[in-house]
């Protein structure tokens, strides 16, 4: 309530300042168009111009939009940011920054530094089994038949200002193409690093195309090295082919100066499977916008999320599942613990279209609030136009169970450890959905550390940045893919 009043009072100034950043973005686009579009093919140039027109119309999102009611970007949009419009010149050895902290966990690592794909020798590689992996900018030019078929086809920029802004400015990012009938045995790990000595606005863009009957595991990490303010506006498009399957994880452990809007579009063809799990452990403002569209029958999508937030951190999970075709199943489970002044939003929207008979859709959001200052706005929402469907939704907000606390303490376990045990047990339901045992173990440890207050923003899932001597060379074994 208080929050709303403040917003109303600030409305005038807010609008003026928002326009300012929008204006700056627009003049930047006009002035630097040649530079921004230097890797464009005619198709990309067309997407860019259309998206720019949309951004001009839509501007930045604000709290008066229904989908943005709970997440206020005013402060983040009030700051000055630099944008990197040329390939990032870095003298640091990015590969050397990484240390895979997950024992026995073989990953193929691809990195973005301030939005730009980082590499030593090849901007784009084709591996023996036909997987193409590397820089999106290079893919524009080298693989127009793939890019033109998928790029900007799923990311709708006509109704979302940030997606429009991303498409208008996107220059590079990660491109992954898995041909038909390939099971990618190693996990591909995409790490998005921000390291700069000024406030930075990053338009990260990724395109992932998975062919028929193929299988891919993807871990998407959002990390930041420097403690400068950053705004990451990330858009990822994923096409999952017929009977293909994708196991997708998002790990977010950001510093509190950062704003991260991570929008991901999954397009599923007939018989495909998706499991997506977003683990948010720290961050300033994090918004995960996950949109799934079933473009064929017999698809399945499991969308999970866990968020552990405290201090003034804010988490917003938006999920939209479009049951456009019959015989598909979607299941959502989001769980969160909020302490101090932390705030959260869960907005789950399942749309079951008229012809999507035999749809199964489940939504569940469970929250524990540890302080009376923490808030959660939970809104599971079903919109159904078919008549032969099974759908359910639920949301709970509560404190730690007093009966369980008494039971645990009566065995000699201290109050603080009893709380830990209950919080951990609450989180475990989502952690246990992780199917890679080594990754599950690692996340499990991170969750425990987070709950004990021992996880810092520098204690990353994959990289260790704190001291020189601790840096271990991360080896990529190409032969394993």
């Amino acid at each position: 309530m208080d929050k709303k009043r403040n917003l109303a009072q600030e409305d005038m100034t807010t609008l003026v300042k928002e326009t300012t950043l929008k204006d700056r973005m627009m003049s930047l686009f006009d002035e630097k168009q040649t530079l921004i579009a230097r890797y464009d093919t005619p198709y990309i140039a067309k997407c860019r111009q259309e998206a720019f027109a949309h951004f001009k119309m839509l501007g930045f999102p604000h709290v008066k939009l229904e989908k943005w009611r709970g997440t206020d970007l005013t402060h983040a949009l009030n700051l000055d940011y630099a944008q990197y419009l040329e390939p990032f010149q870095h003298d640091i050895d990015v590969e050397n920054l990484f240390k895979c902290e997950v024992p026995n966990f073989e990953t193929f690592l691809v990195t973005q530094l301030n939005g730009w794909y980082t590499y030593r020798t090849y901007a784009l590689r084709t591996l023996p089994n036909g997987i193409i992996i590397g820089s999106l900018a290079k893919a524009f030019e080298q693989y127009p038949e793939i890019v033109n078929k998928h790029y900007s086809h799923y990311a709708d920029d006509s109704s979302d200002g940030l997606v429009a802004l991303n498409t208008a400015f996107a220059q590079d990012g990660i491109f992954i193409y898995v041909p038909d009938n390939v099971v990618v045995s190693d996990t591909i790990q995409m790490v998005n690093i921000i390291d700069y000595d000024q406030n930075l606005f990053v338009q990260a863009r990724n395109l992932i195309v998975i062919g028929k009957n193929s299988k891919l595991t993807l871990v998407q990490c959002d990390d930041s090295i420097d403690h400068r303010v950053s705004f990451i506006n990330s858009v990822t498009e994923v096409s999952i082919g017929e009977n293909a399957s994708l196991d997708h994880y998002k790990l977010q452990n950001k510093d509190e100066q950062s704003t991260l809007v991570n929008t991901i579009f999954f397009d599923q063809m007939e018989g495909s499977q998706l499991s997506s799990n977003a683990i948010s452990l720290n961050g300033g403002i994090i918004r995960n916008d996950t949109r799934v569209r079933f473009d064929g029958p017999n698809c399945q999508a499991n969308i999970y999320g866990l968020y552990l937030m405290d201090k003034d951190q804010h988490i917003d999970n938006q999920v939209f599942v479009d049951h456009a075709k019959p015989h598909c199943e979607s299941s959502e489970l989001f769980k969160g613990i909020l302490d101090d002044h932390a705030s959260g939003v869960f907005n789950g929207h399942v749309l079951v279209r008229k012809d999507a008979q035999k749809t199964n859709a489940y939504q569940n959001n469970k929250n524990i609030l540890l302080s009376d200052k923490a808030v959660i706005d939970s809104k599971p929402f079903l919109e159904i136009y078919a008549d032969d469907v099974k759908c359910s939704h639920g949301a709970t907000v509560g404190q730690l169970d007093a009966e369980a606390m008494f039971y645990i303490r009566s065995r000699g376990i201290s109050e603080s450890n009893a709380k830990m045990l209950l919080m951990y047990a609450f989180a475990a339901e989502v952690v246990n959905k992780i199917t890679i045992p080594e990754l599950r173990q690692r996340i499990d440890d991170m969750v425990k550390k987070r709950l004990r207050g021992e996880l810092s923003a520098c204690d990353q899932c994959v990289l260790h940045c704190s001291s020189q001597e601790k840096k271990v060379k991360f080896k990529i074994d190409m032969s394993k893919i």
């Binding site: 369980a404 008494f406 039971y407 645990i408 303490r409 009566s410 065995r411 000699g412 376990i413 045990l421």
Partner: protein, 248 residues
């Protein structure tokens, strides 16, 4: 070991216990019997430290210490164990993990090092065998999806692992079939030692056929109205609680 003097307890302004006096010595088994709603479970909860109750008068000392100055967990570490009438389900926490945490926190309180993993596992195996507990049960979450009998066996299993000085078993016999009752009773009997004590809270005399008490108390309307030997339980079973009502 346990000394309760003139204990008065209220909840939401309503007096439940109206002056309880009870002395339990090491090596003894006491049974507290009485009809439903007379304050038996309240007494057990207050000893364990449940915070919803208000102690308005009286004192409880355990091994000479005033227990009202101790937290729930400190009482447990001092050696008080409560077997719950309705054990709580804790999804996501395995029994093994739960007990290892409990055992080691109690050891820490007593100035001991954590129990080595191998020793802990061996002890678990020994106590599981004692209670004829399904070996797979301990990998499951605490009480989650357990049958009534499994929950009660799990309470006794925890008691066996924690080796308390004073065990208070609150209606442990309720909801048990005859086989489970026999197993639970055998467990309790095997765990009896000259230096520990047990308080059995029960509505029926049935459990007392297996665990023979030294002293039987009848709790009625917040007061202990009658105390006797094991024959009192038999008499109660024959005559019913109406008999007590008439006597007072």
């Amino acid at each position: 070991m346990l000394s309760i003097k003139n204990l008065h307890v209220s909840i939401n302004g309503k007096e439940i216990l109206k002056g309880i006096n009870l002395e339990v010595k090491a090596g003894e088994v006491h049974a507290i019997m009485g009809p439903n709603g007379t304050g038996k479970s309240t007494l057990a909860s207050v000893i364990a430290g449940r915070e919803v109750f208000e102690v308005t008068e009286g004192e409880i000392s355990f091994k000479g210490k005033d227990i009202f100055s101790l937290s729930i967990e400190e009482r447990a570490c001092e050696g008080i164990f409560l077997g719950f009438q309705y054990p709580v389900e804790i999804p996501g926490v395995s029994i093994t993990n739960f007990l290892r945490t409990a055992v080691n926190e109690q050891r820490k309180y007593r100035g001991l090092d954590a129990m080595p993993a191998a020793e802990f596992l061996a002890k678990m195996e020994e106590k599981k065998a004692l209670l004829e507990l399904n070996t797979k049960l301990t990998n499951r979450s605490v009480n989650e999806g357990f049958s009534g009998g499994e929950k009660k066996k799990n309470e006794i299993f925890q008691m066996a692992m924690l080796e308390p000085m004073l065990s208070i078993l609150d209606e442990t016999d309720s909801g048990l079939d005859i086989d489970a009752l026999r197993i639970v009773a055998t467990g309790v009997n095997k765990l009896r030692r000259p230096d520990n004590a047990t308080i059995i809270i029960t509505h029926y005399q049935r459990l007392l056929e297996y665990i023979v008490p030294d002293v039987v108390h009848v709790l009625f309307e917040g007061r202990i109205v009658k105390t006797g030997g094991k024959e009192l339980a038999v008499e109660l079973e024959e005559k019913g609680y109406e008999w007590i009502k008439k006597e007072i």
